[in-house]
Symmetry: C2
Subunit: 199 residues, 2 copies
């Protein structure tokens, strides 16, 4: 039996990861209302008992899932950003990367969670601090990737505006495929941003 | 009896308006999943039969409701924008007006509809053309309000970016009250936009 050779901690970690991945997939495919803990355990191939042990409620599961994947994608982004060249090409590349990130399935899953939390107090209590942490982290990462100097007046606001812009574009992309439009807007935005950051 | 003195067409119009207002209120308060046709008819004080006659399904009702209120709010915005002074103050005022509009209850109702449509093909078939029409109308109105010259390179993209930015800020505002942050970002962006539009 394989199970005797794989340490328990590793198996637990793998099982949790499967549950979280399955939850995000279901949020993307069926939305918040269409995601049930039964569907998650089926898709993850995890027993109901084990699932309930780790995540007692649907809210625990969806919050953990979006947190997990947002953090993983954030780390990937930060790594990719660190490898970019300097100057105007870098600003364009950073803005484009952010645009792609906020149009990905992980964004759709997060959107389902944010919107459900708007009218569900219990969920909101878990989602609001997560959203703030994720927002701060995205801001910090963007400042670093752009090499922006936030001590200069207006720079902090324009970095925030960049993140709100890609969030808005991400929302639009969930119901229409407008990647060509997005690319044109972000290229123009990046050039304006680059000018504002350096002059 | 009052009903003998109010023409039938007026009563029908008033009843439709009550149904649409009640639908938007419920979308804002309870979200898409929590909005039912029964709750709408109760709140609007309209019989089930009359409601079903005008809006046979929940989808008909929610799409008509968001369309109705978006158009009404759009017309109010266009009127307010026309009365604004010229120059930098105008750009700031237009951007701030858009920011307020996209953080209003009507935006929350539209958001519920957009997100539900992402995972519901029938709803998407009705929502996608509405979203495009509303988007084009918002763009046209913003160009007019800003007095922007779209024949100049980049101007069209920056107007679109402004609308995507306020959409992103609107999304953020649905779960955290960040009106102070929004004001700072939009003031900074308005100044950059004004510069880009005029030089």
């Amino acid at each position: 039996m394989t199970s005797t050779r794989v340490p328990q901690a590793d198996r637990t970690r793998a099982m949790r990861a499967r549950l979280l991945e399955a939850t995000v997939e279901l949020l993307v495919e069926r939305g918040f209302a269409g995601t049930s803990t039964t569907l998650v355990s089926e898709r993850a191939g995890v027993s109901r008992g084990a699932q309930l042990h780790h995540f007692p409620t649907k809210n625990d599961l969806v919050v953990a899932a979006v947190e997990h994947l947002t953090e993983r994608r954030g780390a990937e982004l930060a790594e990719a950003a660190a490898a970019l060249p300097a100057g105007k090409r870098r600003t364009r590349a950073v803005v484009e990367m952010l645009g792609d990130h906020f149009s990905s399935p992980v964004f759709a899953a997060a959107l389902e969670l944010w919107v459900a939390a708007r009218t569900d107090e219990t969920l909101l209590a878990a989602v609001a601090p997560l959203e703030q942490r994720v927002g701060r982290e995205a801001h910090r990462m963007t400042v670093a990737a752009l090499g922006a100097d936030e001590s200069r007046p207006g720079v902090r606001e324009l970095v925030q505006a960049t993140l709100d812009l890609v969030r808005g574009l991400g929302l639009a992309s969930t119901i229409t495929d407008d990647s060509a439009r997005r690319r044109r807007i972000l290229r123009e935005w990046a050039d304006v941003l680059e000018k504002e950051l350096t002059t």
